[in-house]
């Protein structure tokens, strides 16, 4: 196995773990954590295959730097909305379908 394949595989696992966590975990800040993990996995999937040659492809690197900044912007907004929700309702999770029935 090569360096590129190994880190791309790690990225695939991280993306799957993050996706699962973002759906299953209920605390909103935990969802933000999970989405950031998934994003990191996708970033690895983008850059690692570009490392198969003698130098690392600069185009996916630039895309991922852009992606990191977009991820922190989205996270900041999500965190802010979670804080608002908590300040208004005292809750840190969205109501469940089951909670609605109850």
């Amino acid at each position: 196995m090569t360096l590129a394949t190994w880190y791309a595989l790690v990225g695939a696992l991280l993306a799957a773990l993050g996706l699962h966590g973002a759906v299953v975990r209920r605390h909103l800040l935990r969802k933000v954590l999970a989405l950031n993990l998934a994003a990191s996995g996708v970033f690895l999937l983008l850059v690692a295959p570009g490392a198969r040659g003698p130098t690392t492809d600069p185009v996916p690197q630039a895309m991922v730097i852009t992606g990191i900044v977009v991820a922190v912007s989205a996270s900041a907004l999500a965190i802010w909305l979670a804080r608002r929700l908590h300040a208004e309702t005292g809750r840190a999770a969205l109501p469940d379908a089951e909670d609605d029935r109850a």
Partner: protein, 306 residues
């Protein structure tokens, strides 16, 4: 790139184990601390992959700023940090596993020979106005991406500002009362020494980006880190840093440069090789100021009206 070594195997396994643990940890605080650790190890992985620019952005933004945002939010949301154990839902687990499986299969069937764009970038590097390939892609070859990204940053700040003033249920977290925050004199002393150094490092990274790893994003993130440190040690972010002209400067200037090219009969954002260097320096300085201001402001939020 380099050969696969035992270090890479350990690093990859550590990343997956940390990811698992930070999602599963019952205590949210533990999860966030592990996330910061994860980000630092991931930036090490970027170095191993020959992507030091990404490593700098990851360490400053992914681990540093996102971690600080999450820790700050957790402190402001007391009593809600403990949740029950995650319920295992089979459809979700199956879906996530299937996604992971498809991605693994895609990785394993990649052709051995890379069909990347590094050759195309190297061939036109001289026309870009800078000597570092990643900066050339970011600001010139894929200028669209970066322009829109500056727009996303700006929009994120507008949305946060529109979501209302900093919601702090605990009065001791309010910025105006934070002067006697229980952090003590040691942090204040460190911050007073560190912030000038961070400004120096930010300026260096901005300058270095033209020919070596670095550039506007990393420089802006370092400067924003200085802003976050100041705030944590009780110094509120100056209101001017959150003013519309400062946060919108990078986007507006880049857009203006692009439109000026269109007005001169070229394509939007198509820079003449002779002018590219000067224009990119202008855009980078403006982008650094805006990125630093927005990232620091996203942490500090709109000032509460009290």
């Amino acid at each position: 790139m380099g050969e696969l070594e035992a270090l890479d195997l350990l690093l990859g396994l550590a990343l997956v184990a940390l990811a698992w643990r930070l999602l599963a940890a019952p205590d949210l605080f533990e999860g966030i601390v592990l996330f910061v650790t994860f980000g630092l190890l991931l930036s090490f992985a970027w170095v191993r992959l020959g992507a030091p620019d990404v490593a700098l952005a990851e360490a400053a933004i992914g681990a540093g700023l996102t971690g600080a945002l999450l820790l700050d939010a957790r402190g402001a949301m007391p009593g809600a940090s403990v949740e029950g154990p995650a319920r295992l839902r089979w459809p979700v687990a199956v879906l996530a596993a299937a996604t992971g499986g498809v991605l693994v299969a895609a990785v394993l069937t990649l052709p051995a020979a890379p069909a990347g764009l590094e050759g195309a970038v190297a061939a036109r590097l001289e026309e870009s106005g800078v000597a570092h390939p990643v900066t050339a892609v970011l600001l010139n070859f894929r200028g669209y991406d970066t322009l829109l990204e500056l727009g996303v940053l700006w929009l994120a700040w507008l949305a946060v500002a529109a979501a209302g003033p900093r919601p702090d249920p605990r009065p001791e977290l309010r910025p105006d009362l934070r002067a006697e925050a229980p952090t003590g004199p040691v942090l204040a002393a460190l911050v007073s020494q560190l912030v000038p150094l961070l400004i120096l490092v930010g300026a260096y990274l901005l300058w270095a980006g033209a020919h070596a790893p670095g550039g506007a994003f990393q420089a802006g993130a370092i400067l924003a880190g200085g802003g976050v440190l100041l705030r944590l040690s009780g110094v509120p972010l100056p209101e001017a840093a959150r003013a519309a002209p400062v946060v919108g400067l990078g986007f507006a200037l880049f857009l203006g440069v692009g439109l000026a090219q269109a007005a001169a009969g070229r394509r939007f954002l198509e820079l003449l090789p002779a002018q590219a260097h000067d224009l990119l320096v202008l855009v980078e300085v403006a982008a650094t100021v805006s990125i630093a201001a927005v990232l620091a402001a996203l942490f500090a939020g709109r000032r509460s009206v009290s």
